[in-house]
Symmetry: C2
Subunit: 348 residues, 2 copies
DNA sequence: TTTGGCACTCCGCCGATGCGACTGCCAACC
DNA sequence: GGTTGGCAGTCGCATCGGCGGAGTGCCAAA
């Protein structure tokens, strides 16, 4: 063996074989089986020596003394680093993705279908998220009086995301005032981000306090009721494939916790926000989610930001067991991330 | 025993005790245990005789020869018929419901929270559904040109449900035409149901074919692209508490099928439509869902239509194991169904 | 009609046993 | 020195028989 527990070509090959075998079967794997599937005729004893080294390096572990070995989190990281450069989307997957996503008419539907197809390909949970409205650019806004003291606000983003919200107002505003307010926002703030509009409006209202006119009054009220969406509001998030988790070998209690967490969308949002970086270029694979939540032990997050015309409009990800098919999943996430840009940009 | 396998007061009491015990523990129950919990001092032997009769009448069955007995579907039906008249909402449940539902600003949020609170109380899956737009009354419609050949249609229902849809048009329509079309619909069809509007518009277009003006042309195109929503489109449906099903004693395979079915919202919609009747007044309990789908064996549906001002605007239901707590669930569904009317009506 | 008694059935738990899979170490070999 | 075969030792797991407990059904007596 190399003097400093380093990883040579033989170690690499054996480690890769172990990881792939474990991903495929879920069974710990021993030196004998490994020797049989290894094309170079290495004997079990040699492989045992290598495995022993890898164990010492913290890449393999044994569930119990007389069992085979399974990869540790470090081994998965190593494996993913090796393949992530060369992950190739298979033609079938490509067909499935395009077949599913073709013909989605609006962004919401596109995202919904994306989470579905991600769960199909990865056998994990597919997630898509429109990152909190605040960061996206406004296309236009529309207000409508619904009834006494209630107003419907429809916000259309440049990215195509549509969001409607019913505001309960303190006082009743006539439709005509609403139309003036909407026209004012549309004329002056098209292309701004919601947060920028919000703070600009607040300043404006402060400044004009002297000549406190009707328009400003309406705007203030609308803002205060969250017409532009508040930070708290759950951004659109779509999950699919939670049922896939049942197949993972978890006991019932952890499975239930897991599903329960997924039902609380807010927590999934936090998870994605915590681990996915708007600036990252490629797909990111996070191994070792137990730091975020104990019941996410043995689970990984594979995700990427979704950009439309250079601007981040959300993210897409897969949450699945560490035993997930990294090849397929990484390539699919990467492909769909690029597809987002292409499809939503051209339809603009 | 009564000559014709009829149910006398003693049979009733024993059957009720068995059903309640089985709901509570999930264990088959024997004559001895039953004798101990029975306040009248009946001996196990007597109870055995009664149980034997009940078995013959098809109300009890044995998992195997030397086990206790469990209720059949017929027994649950009998039990539910007995209690459904007198189901009383507990004060705690009432508090939970009102606490959760208070402050929901729009109908969607109200429905979301309802499904959540239903799952909390019943420990089953809470479902709320806005019945297919087509049957509801229009408040107003709004069109907005999104970009080349794409149009945003926002439909607001009388019931408060808001629905947005992006239409891909064959040709590009200018915003001014859209506004004329929207005004035409709003002025003429406020309060009509969507299906009625759709068919009326179609007739109108036929009739006016001679003087085929711009307005008609726009309307025709908008209709054809489904501006008013097509029958196929999944109505808004909210599920919560699927993780509760993990606790039910199902094997993994059936559990996975079950969760998978719930993920396909469309199938849940069909289920509710098939078993809940818009005309029914009270809560309906459907025992024996296996007719609808084999993996729904041992599951029940407890649901009611949701009315606002006399008009059906959707339905709410719980899907849970036959061992569900009928008392709590029935009373909660019933209470929330009435609450829907009260809250959404007054806020009009 | 109700009750106690009794024989019988059958599930589920427990401990023993044997098998198989694997490791680690050592000595021999290339 | 790297590689190999051999061998002893460990441990999980499936299998099996025995046994206790829960429950039924039937019968005869009150």
């Amino acid at each position: 063996m190399p003097p400093s527990g380093q990883i040579g070509p033989r170690e690499h090959e054996i480690l890769t074989a172990i990881v792939e075998s474990y991903i495929a079967t879920g069974e710990p794997i021993g030196s004998r089986t490994l020797a049989r599937m290894n094309r170079e005729g290495l004997s079990p004893a040699t492989i045992r020596n290598v495995m022993s080294d890898l164990s010492e390096a913290g890449l393999l572990e044994q569930p119990h003394t007389s069992a085979g070995r399974i990869p540790t989190a470090d081994a998965y990281r190593y494996y993913v680093d090796q393949i992530s450069g060369q992950a190739q989307l298979s033609p079938e997957d490509k067909g499935v993705i395009e077949g599913t996503l073709h013909g989605a008419s609006d962004v919401q539907e596109f995202m919904e279908r994306t989470s579905h197809v991600l769960s199909l390909i990865s056998h994990g949970v597919g997630v898509t998220m429109a990152s909190g409205g605040p960061k996206n650019a406004l296309d236009h806004i529309y207000f409508s009086r619904l009834g006494d003291k209630k107003i419907l606000a429809v916000v259309v983003m440049k990215s195509g995301v549509v969001r409607d919200r019913v505001l309960r107002m303190g006082a009743d505003l006539p439709q005509s005032d609403l139309e003036i307010a909407a026209r004012y926002i549309n004329d002056n703030f098209r292309g701004w981000t919601l947060t920028a509009i919000q703070s600009e409006l607040e300043q404006l209202i402060q400044r004009e306090r002297s000549e406190y006119d009707r328009l400003m009054q309406s705007l203030e009220q609308l803002c205060r009721q969250g017409a532009l969406g508040d930070e708290e509001a759950a951004p659109g998030i779509y999950l699919d494939g939670a049922s896939n988790l049942v197949a993972s070998e978890e006991d019932k209690q952890r499975l239930q916790q897991l599903l329960h967490t997924l039902e609380e969308k807010q927590r999934v949002v936090h998870l994605l926000n915590a681990y996915l970086d708007a600036k990252q270029e490629a797909v990111r694979v996070v191994i070792g989610l137990e730091e975020a939540a104990p019941y996410l032990r043995n689970f990984v997050l594979i995700g990427a930001p979704a950009r439309v015309g250079g601007e981040v409009m959300g993210s897409l990800a897969v949450i699945g067991p560490t035993r997930i098919d990294y090849q397929h999943t990484i390539s699919a996430v990467s492909y769909i991330a690029r597809l987002f840009d292409k499809i939503l940009n051209e339809s603009e």
